[in-house]
Symmetry: C2
C-alpha cells in the first residue's frame, strides 16, 4: 500500500536538550515520532518533554553513538558537536540530518564563508588568519570583525575593531577577519529545505541586538523593509542553504547595508532564535517544519497570520541560582502575549531563560505590547547579587 506507515513512524534522536529540542519535541510527537535527547544536564529543557534523555557530553563519542543507534533518525539543536564521530556513524548507515559533513563545514566559520563565496553568495569581504596578532589584523584594514573559526556562540569568539586593533583584545585562536559591515539593519530568513531539494522560506524578520550581551533583544516579523528588498533577502538565503545542500530548517542571518545590499552574515543549521515567533504566527512553526524536512515529509505552509514581535527573556546582569520570574502575571494580562519558559534549573547573567512572542493586528500594536511585556518581565536569581 502506498504511503502507509506504522505508528510510531520512528524515533527522532536530538543532539542537545536545550530550548530548541524542547520546542521541537511536541511537534515530533504529534507527527508520530518518539524522541530521545542527548544532553549533559539531567532533566534538561528538552529532556523534560522527551521520551528519554541520555545524559552525556555532546563531544562524548560513545554517548553520541548510543543516541544515534537508539534513533531511526538523528538531528541536532546545537552545532558544536563532534562531527567526526557522526560521519563514521552516517557511513554505517545511520540517518543523520542535516548531514555531519554539512555541519563540519558550517561549524568552521572560515569553511562556511569559503563555501558561500564559491557558490557566489554575497558576504562581507574576509580573509583567513591562522595565527592572529595585531599586525596581521591591521594588514586586512579597519574596521573589521575578528571571528574565531570554531566555538563562537551568542557573541563569544567575536572581537570588533573599528578605529584601531587593540592587542589585548585579539583572540589568540585560528580565525577569520571580516570587513565590518556598516549595516542599516540585521535581517534573518528561515529557510526550510526538504530531501528532494524543495524549499520554503518564512517572511523576512528584523533583529535588534542588545549591545551589552550581544544577544537578540527584539525581533520584528515581518521586517520593516520594501517588498523588493525582502524578495532579494529570501533569494540570497535560499542560495546560501543550497550552497550546502542543506536538509532541514536553517536560520540565515543577513545584513542589509546602507547601500541596500544583502550580505550573508552566518548560517545556523537548525531552527533558530529568530524563528520562535513562527509558533504563534505561522501556519507551520519552524519546529514542525524542521521535523517534516528531516523526516522526509512534505514541507508545510509558511503563511504568516499576523504581525509578531519576539523578545528574549534573559537572566538579569546579576542573576545567579534558581530562576525567579518577576512580572509574569502582568505580562500574561497583556493582549496576545505568549510566554515561553525553558525550564532551566539555574540562571546566570544574560542566559536565555525563555522568550515572549506578541501577536497583534498591527505591527505598531505588537511593538507596543512587546515593550510593555519587556518592562514588566524579568528573570532574576535566588542568590544574592
Amino acid at each position: 500500500m502506498a504511503d502507509a506507515r506504522t505508528l510510531p513512524l520512528g524515533r527522532l534522536g536530538i543532539i542537545g536538550g536545550g530550548q530548541l529540542a524542547r520546542m521541537m519535541i511536541p511537534e515530533a510527537a504529534r507527527l508520530g515520532l518518539d524522541t530521545v535527547v542527548l544532553d549533559p544536564t539531567p532533566n534538561s529543557p528538552g529532556g523534560q518533554l522527551a521520551g528519554e534523555q541520555i545524559v552525556g557530553a555532546l563531544d562524548d563519542a560513545s554517548r553520541l553513538a548510543e543516541l544515534v543507534r537508539a534513533s531511526t533518525l538523528t538531528t541536532f539543536e546545537i552545532e558544536t558537536v563532534d562531527t567526526g564521530g557522526l560521519e563514521a556513524l552516517a557511513r554505517e548507515g545511520h540517518v543523520i540530518r542535516p548531514a555531519p559533513s554539512l555541519l563540519a563545514r558550517i561549524q568552521d566559520k572560515l569553511a562556511q564563508k569559503e563555501q558561500l563565496a564559491r557558490a557566489g553568495v554575497p558576504t562581507a569581504e574576509f580573509v583567513a588568519i591562522d595565527t592572529p596578532d595585531a599586525r596581521a589584523l591591521a594588514d586586512f584594514g579597519l574596521p573589521l570583525v575578528q571571528k574565531a573559526r570554531r566555538g563562537g556562540y551568542d557573541g563569544r569568539g567575536v572581537a570588533v575593531f573599528k578605529a584601531a586593533v587593540i592587542e589585548e583584545e585579539v583572540l589568540a585562536v585560528p580565525s577569520l577577519a571580516e570587513r565590518f559591515v556598516d549595516f542599516r539593519c540585521e535581517l534573518a530568513v528561515l529557510v526550510a529545505r526538504g530531501l528532494g531539494g524543495e524549499v520554503e522560506t518564512y517572511p523576512v524578520v528584523e533583529m535588534v541586538f542588545d549591545d551589552r550581551a550581544n544577544v537578540l533583544d527584539l525581533l520584528l516579523a515581518p521586517a520593516r523593509i520594501d517588498a523588493a528588498v525582502a524578495e532579494r533577502a529570501r533569494a540570497v538565503a535560499i542560495a546560501a542553504v543550497e550552497a550546502f545542500d542543506g536538509v532541514g530548517v536553517f536560520g540565515v542571518e543577513l545584513f542589509l547595508t546602507r547601500d541596500d545590499e544583502i550580505l550573508v552574515n552566518e548560517i545556523a543549521p537548525r531552527p533558530h532564535n529568530s524563528g520562535h515567533w513562527t509558533i504563534e504566527a505561522c501556519a507551520t512553526s519552524q519546529f514542525e517544519q524542521h521535523v517534516r524536512a528531516v523526516a522526509g515529509l512534505p514541507l508545510g505552509s509558511t503563511r504568516q497570520y499576523c504581525p509578531a514581535v519576539m523578545v528574549n527573556l534573559l537572566g538579569t546582569a546579576t542573576a545567579r541560582g534558581t530562576p525567579v520570574i518577576v512580572g509574569m502575571e502582568a505580562a500574561l494580562a497583556l493582549p496576545g502575549v505568549a510566554v515561553h519558559l525553558y525550564g532551566k534549573a539555574t540562571v546566570s547573567p544574560f542566559r536565555k531563560m525563555g522568550h515572549v512572542t506578541v501577536t497583534a493586528e498591527t505591527m505598531d500594536a505588537a511593538l507596543q505590547t512587546a515593550a510593555e511585556a519587556r518592562d514588566v518581565l524579568r528573570i532574576e536569581g535566588s542568590d544574592p547579587a
Copy 2:
C-alpha cells in the same frame, strides 16, 4: 516582591493521560509548570510528554491520592473519576481545579441538568427516570433521548426513540429522558473562567457528527450563523459555566433549534474536542487557557486569526492492532494542514487516534482542504480485518 515566582512554578497533576493531557503538557511546560499524569496505560499519550506518569486506574483511590499529593495543583482531562476520594483530598487542603464537587454534579447528567434548570439556563425539557422501562419512557412522550446518568461518553449511554420506544433498546440504568431536539445544527462554545470569576469565550463553532460512530466528524470555526445568534450562544454558554462556579476551560455543547433557540446539551468540565482548532487558529489555545485558569494566571486573548476546520482521525470500522496511518504524505502536502497524532499504541474501530486542523484565508478554502485531507487520510490496523 510583588509577582515574583520561583521556577518551576509548581507541578501540575493531570488525572488521565489521553490526548487532552498530551496537548496540555507542552503548554504547562512553557508556563513554568512540571507535569505528572495518572493513567492506566503505561506510556500513555500524555505520559509520553509528561515529566512522570503514575500508572493506575482513575478509580483507584490510592493512586489518585498519590497523584494529588505529588502535585501542587491537580486538574483532569476526563470526568469519569471517583469524586468522593478527590473531595476528601480537597478537604485536606490539596488544590484541585475545577473543584471535585463541580465534577460530581457534572458527571451525573441528571444533576447537571437540574443545576442548569435552577440557574435558568435553557435546556431541552427533561425528567428523571430511576428505573427505566418502555412504559416510563412512553409516559414522557416521543420523540425522546434516554441518557444514562453516569458513564456516557462518545455516544455510549444514549438511546434515541423517535416513533416508538423499543423495549430491547431501553438502557436499564438510572437515567433521564430528554425531549429530542429537532435542531438546525449543533454548536459549541469554549468558555474559560478564572479564579476571580473573569470569563473569556472563544468564537462559536459548528459541529457535524458522524452518525455511525456518534463522534464529532467535522468542526467549523467560526460557525456559519448570524452574529446575533453567536452572541446569544456565547451568553448561554457563560451562564452554564457560571451556574457551576467553574474554574478552567469548559466545552459547552449547544443545540440551535429550528426556531433559533439556543439550548445547552451538555457541559464538559475540561478542554474539549471542539476546541482543538484553537491550537493553530487562536492567540491562546484552549490548553494554554486551561492551564492559565487553573493556575490562577490571567486568561489569554481568544482572538481567532483565520477560519479553521477540524476533522477527527478515527480508526476505520475494522481497524485492530498496531495503528497504520495511510495518506500522511498526501495530507501534509495540502496547504495549511496540521496533523496531530495521539501516540496510542493500539487502534480499534472509531477510536480517536488524532485530528487534523486546516487553516486557510476563507472558510470555503478550509472546508475544501479538510475534505481532501479526510479523503486521503485514514488510520487502519496491523491485524487482518
